[in-house]
Amino acid sequence: MAKLKLVMVGNGMAGVRTLEELLKVAPDLYEITVFGAEPHPNYNRILLSPVLAGEQTLDEIILNPLSWYADHGIRLHLNRRVVEVDRRRRVVVADDGTEAPYDRLLLATGSSPFILPVPGKELDGVIAYRDIADTNRMIEAARTHRHAVVIGGGLLGLEAANGLMLRGMTVTVVHIAPWLMERQLDQVAATMLQRSLEARGLRFRIGAQTEALLGGDDGGVQAVRFKDGTEVQADLVVMAAGIRPNTELARRIGLLCDHDGRGGISVSDTMQTLTDPRIYAVGECASHRGVAYGLVAPLFEQGRVCATHLAQFGIGRYGGSQTSTKLKVTGIDLFSAGQFMGGDGTEEIVLTDPFGGVYKKLVLKNDRLVGACLYGDTADGSWYFRLIREGTKVAHLRGQLMFGEPAQADDAMGEPPNDVAAAPERLAA
C-alpha cells in the first residue's frame, strides 16, 4: 500500500521536532517532504546567542544533520521558499517551481523579526537577529566596526548586545519600555539585570523612543536619533523589537489567522488549522487559543500533540502552555514564569539578597503558585514551573517555598522535572 504523503513547510525546530515525534510512533506511515528557506539543515536557533558570543560554533548547534534526513527517507529541499498551495489538488509549489503533493500538510513557517517603521531602516548595517545569516553578519560587523546599537531590551536584544560586546563592540541597548524584559521580568529584577549588564560594559537608553536611523554618504548607518533629539553613534543597528508569525502563505491560501499584528495561524487543540483539517500548523506561526508562543518548550509540546494526530492515533490534546523564560548570558541567571506580575487576587512572596545578588518573587493565587520571577538564583525555577503547571496546592509549603524543594516531599510533588520544564528556552524573542 502506498504511503501517505506529508509535506512540511519550514525546517525549523518546531517542525523537525514534530517529525521526530512522528517517526518515533509511526515510522512508516508517511513519505515526507520538507521545504526549508535557509540553506542549512535544522539547527538550534536558541544557541545562536552563544555562537554570537563566541562560546559555540555553528557546527555545534546543528540538531539534524543532512544524514538524518537521508536516514529517515525525508526529501529535503533547502533554499526553497514555498509560494503556493493548491488545497483542492493538495499540491505545494515552491519558488523554483518544485511541486510536492500531500495528504497532510504541516505548516512550520516560524516568525520574522519586527522591523521598526522608522526612517533609515533600510540603511546598510541595519539588521534583524533571527538566523545564521544574521549572526554571521553581526560577527563580521564586530570585526570591522566599533559602535553597535541594539533596539529592543528583550531576551533576544540583550543576548545580541552581550554577544556583540564580547566581540569587542561598544553596545548601547535602546529600550522603549520602563524596564528591560518587561514581559519576562518585574522592575526589581530588571533593574538588577541592568546593573549587572552595565557592570559588564553594556550601555542602556531605557524609555528612549527611536525616531530615525541616520546614514552616512556610503549608505551605511551612522547613528540612532531619539525623540528627545539625542543621538547615539552606530555602525551596526540590530532590530530586536519583537517577532511576527510568518502567516503570509497561510493567509494567501485562505487559512484563518488571528486578526492582530502578532496573530498566527488559528489552530485547534489537535494543532489542525481551523480552516482545513488536512493542514496542521505548529510553532511560532501558529496561534492556539489566541496565543502565539515564542519559546521552545510550548512548541515542543505542540509538536508532540501534532505527531500523535498525524500518526492517526487520534489522541492527545494541546491545552496551551505555561511559559517560562531564561536569559542566555553567561553568569546571569534569571527565570520567570506565569503571572509573575501578580494581579487581582494574587499574593506575593518576595526575597531580596543584595549579597548574593538574588531576587525571587513568587506569585500565589487561591493557594496555588501562578507565577515566579527569579534573578540571580534560578536553581528552583524548574520546581516552581512544575508547581505552576500542575496547579499544586502550596499552603503546606508556603514558608519553605522560597528555599527550594523539600527533599522529603518528592512523592507529594509528583514527577521529577521533565524535559519541557528543563528547557524553558527562547526560540525567538
Partner: protein, 944 residues
C-alpha cells in the same frame, strides 16, 4: 589598663547599688570615668565587687550619658507632649510658683514629696527640712517604704530603735547563719562572698535558708526550709516552741534584759512545731533542726531582707525573728544578732535623717511631742507638723483621689516600682503639677512629669551614705556633673529659698535668728547640721567628720564626740534604747497574706531581684552585658505547673491579678515550688510592654502587685499577690535583634518604647559585651506577639529603627502570609556577619539566628537561608549557650564541657574549672551557679 592610659585621678567613693555599701575606686582620665575597682580598704567589700559594681564605669560612659541621662531642665506644655528645654532659673521659678500656689490655695497637705533610698544623706536632710520645716506637711515618703520600713518598725517594736545591731564581721564569727527571705547570692553578692569565706574557714558553720523559692542561696544551705509565702511568723513561733521544749532559751538573758516573754509564749502557742510545720509546708524534723541549730549551735546570726519586709505582716515577721534572738540571747555579741540587709544604698541614711512620713531627724518619732519640739528647735521653726504624712502607697492613693495637687518625685521611679500601677497611673494623671528630679531621662515616671529636673548621680555626687551595718562612707565626685545636672541637696536648697520668698506666712513662723532654713553652700554644711541633730541619740555621730571619714575611712554609728572609732555591734551590754532599757518581746500572731490564693487566683506571685540588675534598671539597663545572665522578662513556674497549664518553655501566658494583667513568656524553673510564680521586680514598662484587654499599655510587673501592706510599717506586700495564669494564643510573633553603634543603641531603645504598647505582648532589652576589647556596638532585642499580623507601617518603623532598611539587608516578605524577615549583614575580614535581623510571623528560626548574631559567628555558609523559617538551622552550627559568668562571658556549655574532664571533689572541680575558664574569678557572683553545675555534672564514672 595599658601604661599609656594611666588615669589622671583615682577617687574613692561607694557603689550606688545595694545596701552592702561597697567602696569603689574610680579612675578618671581627662574628666571621664574610665574604670572602677573595688576599694581594698573599704570594710564592706575589701576590694571585691559584684557584676553590677564592677561595671559601674561602663554605665558612666559618654555615650550612655548622652543617650540616657537627663541633661537639662525640661518642661512639658501639656501632658503627653514632648518636653522642651528650660533653664534652671525658669524651671525652679515655675516649680516654686506652682507649689506656693497649691500650698496657699489648698494647704500644705495638698503637696507630696516622694524620694528615694538612693539619695545621699545630705540630699535627704534638706528634703526633709524643706517639707516638714518650711512647707509644714509630713507628706514626705520615699521608696524606702517599699524596702525597709518593716525592718525599721520591727527593730523599734522590739529593740527600741531602728538600728541593725550586728555587722558584716559577725558572719565570720557565727556558728549558725539563718537567712530568711533573702536571696543573698543575687541581692547582696559581696556579702555572700563573706559567707563563702566563713564556711570555708569554719566547716562547722551551719547555713539555714528559709525561702519560698529554691534560690541560689538556698542551694548552698545545709538546711533549706521552702516555706509557703507569708508563713514566716509561724516558722519563727514554731521554732520558739522547739527552743522552749528543748531548753534552748536563754532564761538569764530573758530575765535580765527583756520584757514580755510570757505574752510571747502565749501568742506563740497557736504555732506548735507540728502546726507551724504544716502551715509552712515543711517537714517537722526540718523545723526542729532549724531551731536546734539556732538555739544550740551558736552564735547565731540572722540575715533577712524583703521576704520579711515586703509583707502584709512585715513588722510582725521582723519582730518574731528578733524574738528568737532575744529568747536565745543571740544578740550583742560577735556572730550573733538579727541583721536586716538593706535593699538600697542609703535607705539607712534616709532613716537617720527622718526622711519618711512618720519619722523625724536622728531617729526621732513624729508621734512624740518632745521629739517634734527638739526638731523644731534644731531647725529654728515654731513647730513641725504633728499630723502623720502620707506613706508611699497612701500618697499615691490620695493623689488618685485628687487630694494631692502638686507632687515632687526625686530619684525614684514610682511608675515602675510602686505596686498597683493602675492607681499610680491614675494618680500621676490627676495631680495638677508633677516634678520629676532624676538623673536618667529614660524612666517610666519621666513620661508623666510636667517639669523634669536633671540631677547628678554616681560618679558626680558628693556626700555620705550609710550601709546595712550602720557604716557611713563618703561619696565623692570623680567627674563634673553631666550637662546641667545639679546635686539633689542643691536643687532642694535652691527651691526651698525660692519657696521661702513666696510663703511669708510660713517664714513668719521661723524662730528669731533664723533667716532661711537653707543656708547650705556645700554638702558638708548640710551634714554638719545633721550631725548636730544626732547628739545624744542612739545614732550619735558627733565624733565624726568628713575629714575623719576621708582619713580614717568609713565608720559605723554610733560614734559620739570623743570616740576614736565607730561601733561594730550594738547592745553588748544588754541595754536597749527603750524607756526602761529592756528589749520587748513582740507577742505577734501569725496571720496569712493579705490576698490569699483562691480558686479564681490560685497562684502566689512573688517578685524580687535578678543577680545582674538593680531596681528599675535605669542604670544597669544601659548595659547589654548585664542581660547576659537573664536576658528577657519571663514568669518562672514549677515544671509541673507548666505541664498542667499546657505551657512549653517560652510560651506566652497571661498573668492576671485583681488589679491588672500582663502577658509574658513562661519559663520552667526548679527554684519554684508548685502554685507559685515569680517575676523579677525589674521588668517595668521600660522593658516589658503589651496591652491590657482594654487596649491600654501595660505597666510592667507592678500592674499585678498588691498595695495592701503591713498596718504598722505601711510597707506593701510585694512578695505575694494572688494571680491567675492562662496560656494565651498570640500566633503572630516578632523578634528584632540588632547590633547598633553604642552611640545609638540606647536612643533606639527609647524610640522603640512607644511601639511596645502596640502589641499584646512586647519586650525590649539590650544585649552585648560593652567594655570588652573592641566592643563598640550594643545589641538591642525587641520581641512582640499579637493575635494577627501588624500593619506594614509598624514593620517599616521597626526596620528603620533597627537599621534594617539599607542596601545591606536581605529580605523576605510575604504580606498575605504575615511573614517578614530582614537580615542585615556586614562583610568583615573573615566573612559575613549577621548584625541585625527582624523576624515577623514565624520566629522559630530565632533558635539558630540568635546565637549566630549574638556570638558573632561567620554567616557566609547560610547565604539567603538566613531567611529560612523553622527552628532547625539550615547549616550545622555550635552555639555558645547560656552565659553563666558575666565578667568573663563564660557559657554553661563551656563549663559543663570542662567539668566533664575535671576530677576530684566538688571544691577541687570548681577550682579547676575556674583555673581553666576564669569563670567566677573576678566578682564571684556566679560562684553559686558554678557550684550548682559542679553538683549536676559529675565526672563520668570510669571502671577501676
Amino acid at each position: 589598663m595599658s601604661l599609656s592610659a594611666q588615669p589622671d585621678t583615682l577617687t574613692r567613693t561607694t557603689c550606688p547599688y545595694c545596701g552592702t555599701g561597697c567602696g569603689v575606686i574610680v579612675s578618671t582620665r581627662q574628666g571621664r570615668i574610665v574604670d572602677v575597682q573595688g576599694d581594698p580598704r573599704h570594710p564592706a567589700n575589701a576590694g571585691r565587687l559584684c557584676t553590677k559594681g564592677s561595671t559601674l564605669h561602663l554605665t558612666a560612659a559618654d555615650h550612655v550619658t548622652r543617650q540616657a541621662r537627663l541633661l537639662t531642665p525640661m518642661a512639658r506644655a501639656q501632658r503627653g507632649g514632648v518636653p522642651q528645654p528650660i533653664g534652671w532659673n525658669a524651671a525652679l521659678e515655675q516649680a516654686a510658683d506652682r507649689f506656693a500656689q497649691v500650698i496657699r490655695e489648698h494647704g500644705p497637705q495638698a503637696v507630696g514629696f516622694y524620694g528615694s533610698g538612693q539619695l545621699l544623706t545630705e540630699d535627704y536632710y534638706v528634703l526633709n527640712k524643706l517639707v516638714k520645716g518650711l512647707i509644714g506637711t509630713n507628706n514626705l515618703d520615699t521608696n524606702s517604704r517599699l524596702c525597709m520600713s518593716s525592718a525599721v518598725a520591727g527593730y523599734k517594736a522590739t529593740l527600741g530603735a531602728d538600728a541593725p545591731p550586728a555587722c558584716y564581721d559577725d558572719v565570720q564569727h557565727a556558728q549558725t547563719l539563718f537567712i530568711v527571705g533573702a536571696n543573698t547570692a543575687w541581692a547582696h553578692p559581696i556579702l555572700l562572698r563573706r559567707i563563702e569565706d566563713a564556711r570555708k574557714a569554719n566547716p562547722a558553720l551551719k547555713l539555714i535558708v528559709a525561702d519560698p523559692r529554691r534560690t541560689e542561696t538556698a542551694e548552698m544551705a545545709d538546711l533549706f526550709l521552702p516555706i509557703q509565702p507569708g508563713t514566716d511568723v509561724a516558722l519563727f513561733h514554731g521554732m520558739l516552741n522547739v527552743l522552749l521544749e528543748e531548753g534552748l532559751v536563754d532564761k538569764a538573758f530573758i530575765d535580765a534584759h527583756t520584757d514580755g516573754f510570757d505574752a510571747l509564749c502565749e501568742a506563740a502557742q497557736a504555732c506548735s512545731p507540728a502546726a507551724a510545720a504544716a502551715l509552712c509546708g515543711i517537714p517537722l524534723d526540718d523545723l526542729r533542726q532549724a531551731a536546734r541549730w539556732f538555739g544550740g549551735h551558736t552564735p547565731t546570726l540572722s540575715l533577712y531582707c524583703q521576704g520579711l519586709n515586703q509583707s502584709a505582716r512585715g513588722t510582725d515577721k521582723n519582730a518574731a525573728l528578733i524574738n528568737l534572738h532575744l529568747a536565745t540571747g543571740q544578740i550583742g555579741k560577735p556572730g550573733a544578732g538579727p541583721f536586716s540587709l538593706t535593699g538600697q544604698p542609703n535607705a539607712m541614711g534616709g532613716r537617720e535623717v527622718g526622711g519618711m512620713a512618720n519619722l523625724l531627724s536622728a531617729h526621732r518619732d513624729l508621734a512624740n511631742a518632745s521629739h517634734r519640739e527638739e526638731v523644731a528647735a534644731l531647725w529654728g521653726v515654731d513647730a513641725v507638723p504633728e499630723q502623720p504624712g502620707l506613706t508611699a502607697v497612701a500618697m499615691f492613693e490620695a493623689a488618685a483621689r485628687g487630694e494631692i495637687k502638686a507632687l515632687w518625685i526625686a530619684c525614684t521611679n514610682p511608675a515602675q516600682s510602686m505596686p498597683d500601677q493602675a492607681t499610680v497611673r491614675r494618680a500621676l494623671e490627676r495631680v495638677d503639677f508633677v516634678v520629676v528630679q532624676e538623673a536618667f531621662a529614660t524612666t517610666a515616671t519621666c513620661a508623666h512629669a510636667d517639669l523634669l529636673l536633671p540631677a547628678t548621680t554616681w560618679g558626680e555626687k558628693d556626700g555620705t551614705v550609710t550601709n546595712s551595718e550602720r557604716r557611713i562612707s563618703r561619696v565623692r565626685p570623680a567627674v563634673a556633673p553631666a550637662g546641667e545636672a545639679r546635686h539633689d541637696w542643691f536643687i532642694f536648697t535652691d527651691f526651698g529659698r525660692r519657696l521661702e520668698a513666696r510663703l511669708p506666712e510660713r517664714t513668719a513662723r521661723y524662730r528669731p535668728g533664723t533667716r532661711t532654713l537653707f543656708p547650705y553652700t556645700t554638702p558638708e554644711s548640710v551634714w554638719m547640721e545633721h550631725r548636730a541633730s544626732t547628739r545624744g541619740r542612739d545614732l550619735d555621730i558627733t565624733g565624726l567628720s568628713y575629714h575623719l571619714l576621708e582619713t580614717r575611712g568609713p565608720q559605723q554609728w554610733p560614734m559620739p564626740d570623743g570616740a576614736t572609732q565607730g561601733t561594730a555591734r550594738l547592745y553588748a551590754d544588754g541595754a536597749f534604747p527603750t524607756a526602761n532599757g529592756r528589749a520587748r518581746f513582740a507577742p505577734v500572731a501569725y496571720a496569712p497574706v493579705a490576698e490569699p490564693c483562691d480558686a479564681d487566683y490560685p497562684f502566689s506571685l512573688n517578685t524580687g531581684r535578678l543577680r545582674d540588675q538593680w531596681h528599675g534598671m535605669s542604670r544597669t539597663g544601659t548595659l547589654g552585658r548585664l542581660f547576659g545572665h537573664v536576658s528577657e522578662p519571663a514568669v518562672e513556674l514549677h515544671p509541673d505547673d507548666m505541664r498542667r497549664l499546657g505551657l512549653a518553655e517560652g510560651d506566652l501566658v497571661q498573668v492576671r491579678s485583681r488589679r491588672g494583667a500582663l502577658v509574658l513568656p513562661a519559663q520552667a524553673s526548679d527554684a519554684m515550688a508548685p502554685s507559685q510564680a515569680y517575676i523579677a521586680m525589674h521588668w517595668g514598662p521600660e522593658y516589658l510592654g503589651g496591652q491590657t484587654e482594654t487596649g491600654d499599655p501595660v505597666a510592667g510587673v507592678n500592674s499585678l502587685t498588691q498595695p495592701a501592706g503591713c498596718p504598722t510599717s505601711r510597707q506593701p506586700e510585694l512578695k505575694h499577690a494572688a494571680v491567675h495564669l492562662a496560656p494565651v494564643t498570640l500566633p503572630w510573633r516578632l523578634l528584632g535583634l540588632a547590633w547598633l553603634p553604642a552611640e545609638q543603641a540606647l536612643s533606639v531603645r527609647e524610640a522603640l518604647k512607644p511601639l511596645m504598647g502596640a502589641f499584646a505582648f512586647s519586650s525590649c532589652v539590650p544585649f552585648g559585651r560593652e567594655g570588652a576589647d573592641g566592643a563598640h556596638e550594643v545589641g538591642v532585642l525587641f520581641r512582640a506577639a499579637a493575635a494577627q499580623p501588624v500593619d506594614a507601617a509598624m514593620l517599616t518603623a521597626l526596620r528603620a529603627l533597627l537599621k534594617l532598611d539599607g542596601d545591606d539587608v536581605m529580605r523576605l516578605d510575604d504580606v498575605h502570609g504575615g511573614q517578614h524577615r530582614a537580615m542585615r549583614l556586614r562583610r568583615e575580614a573573615d566573612g559575613l556577619r549577621l548584625i541585625g535581623c527582624l523576624l515577623a510571623g514565624d520566629t522559630r528560626s530565632e533558635a539558630w539566628l540568635r546565637p549566630l548574631l549574638q556570638d558573632g559567628l561567620v554567616a557566609d555558609a547560610y547565604g539567603r537561608f538566613l531567611l529560612a523559617p523553622g527552628a532547625t538551622p539550615p547549616v550545622a552550627m555550635a552555639a555558645r549557650g547560656k552565659q553563666v559568668c558575666t565578667c568573663f562571658n563564660v557559657s554553661e556549655s563551656a563549663i559543663t564541657t570542662a567539668l566533664s574532664h575535671c576530677p576530684g571533689n566538688d571544691d577541687e572541680r570548681l577550682a579547676r574549672v575556674q583555673g581553666e575558664l576564669k569563670c567566677g574569678t573576678n566578682c564571684g557572683s556566679c560562684i553559686p551557679a558554678l557550684r550548682k553545675l559542679v553538683k549536676r555534672h559529675p565526672v563520668p564514672e570510669t571502671q577501676s
